[in-house]
Amino acid sequence: MFRNNLKYYCLSIISYIFVIDKQQLMKSHISIQPPILLKTILDILYILLIISIISSLILFILSVIFVEKIPFSVKINEYEIEEFSTGIIFGISLEFIISGIFIYIIYILRKVVRSFFKQKLFTTLQISGLKLIGQLIIIARLAETVLTFVMKLILENKAAVGINIDSSFDSLWFTLALGLFFILLSKSFSYARKLQEENDLTV
């Protein structure tokens, strides 16, 4: 239900990106501007995610309790569910936990981006935050893949094994690579921190 809204958000954002990018180019090279646009989008995403997870949690609990009084079948992540067995309830609650991890990732990312506002780069918060983001992305994505496989097994009695690649940035392989990249980034940040400390010492 939120997907349609997301599309319009994307459309409205398109004009902003290029304007702000030009503004940043005109500034001097060394001093960097705080990432206002990034912070705004992260805030929007965070609020949307929290609203959507709370509302879907309420809907899920209601439909589990009043399963016999619902005239329509419930649709959860592409699966149409007519009856709630314990396996299905367990799987869906695991899925909720994974999206909880996802929200936590966004929360850390917000914290890291906000720490850029203080004009202090390469702090320990940023280094450890980036590392944590990378690890969480990899764990959550792998858990999600396993869960999707098991859910398909339970719901459709189908075992699907194969390599599925979407040509977009939410494909499994791209997110795994992204997680690894964040870990690598934290390494290079800690290297830069060492440089900065040496620099401060010599001056």
Binding site: L11, L45, S56, K75, I76, F102, L109, F169, S171, E198
Partner: protein, 174 residues
């Protein structure tokens, strides 16, 4: 000059592996899209680009071309990503190449995500799909997340530029 020695060497191999797999499958994907006009009723091929039936009409052909372009753009951005990672391993950190390619990658991600969502709107319009209301539990498939990633990369290029300045100062004083 110090090179960046990390115990993450397997990571690089893993990334190369991912790149090859993605290249192969997207190549197959593009071939599949090209084959659709010849097998208009084949279901497997149609599932690839989420298009139920093919007719030789102008908007549909336009959609096909955009789908192919999106795939190529995705491969290109993955290639840039791979280049960045291997340069982070090999060469000294914070070079001009890393700065410019991080920025390019961020812009590519933002642009491709926006094009893809416009593409989805149009394909929904043409094929008359409407989304069923139901619970959708969010995770990595959110488009805003991808846009955040793109912006984060762009911002990262500025951070790298700052670090480059720091490093140059450091080298001068020593």
């Amino acid at each position: 000059m110090k090179t960046n020695e990390t115990p993450l060497q397997p990571l690089k191999w893993f990334l190369n592996f991912i790149f090859i797999i993605v290249l192969i499958t997207i190549g197959l994907n593009i071939i599949g899209i090209l084959f659709i006009p010849f097998f208009p009723e084949s279901k497997i091929v149609a599932d690839l680009i989420l298009v139920p039936n093919f007719k030789l009409e102008l908007p549909i052909i336009g959609l096909f071309i955009t789908a192919i372009l999106l795939n190529i753009g995705f491969i290109f951005s993955l290639y840039v990503f791979k280049k960045i990672v291997s340069s982070l391993f090999k060469s000294p950190l914070f070079t001009e190449f890393q700065i410019s390619s991080l920025k390019l990658l961020g812009q590519l991600i933002v642009l491709l995500v926006i094009i893809k969502s416009v593409f989805n709107i149009f394909s929904d319009m043409i094929f008359g799909k409407s989304e069923v209301v139901g619970i959708h539990i969010f995770s990595f498939d959110s488009k805003l997340m991808a846009i955040c990633m793109g912006l984060f990369f762009i911002y990262l290029s500025y951070v790298f530029r700052k670090a480059k300045g720091l490093k140059e100062e450091n080298d001068l004083t020593v």
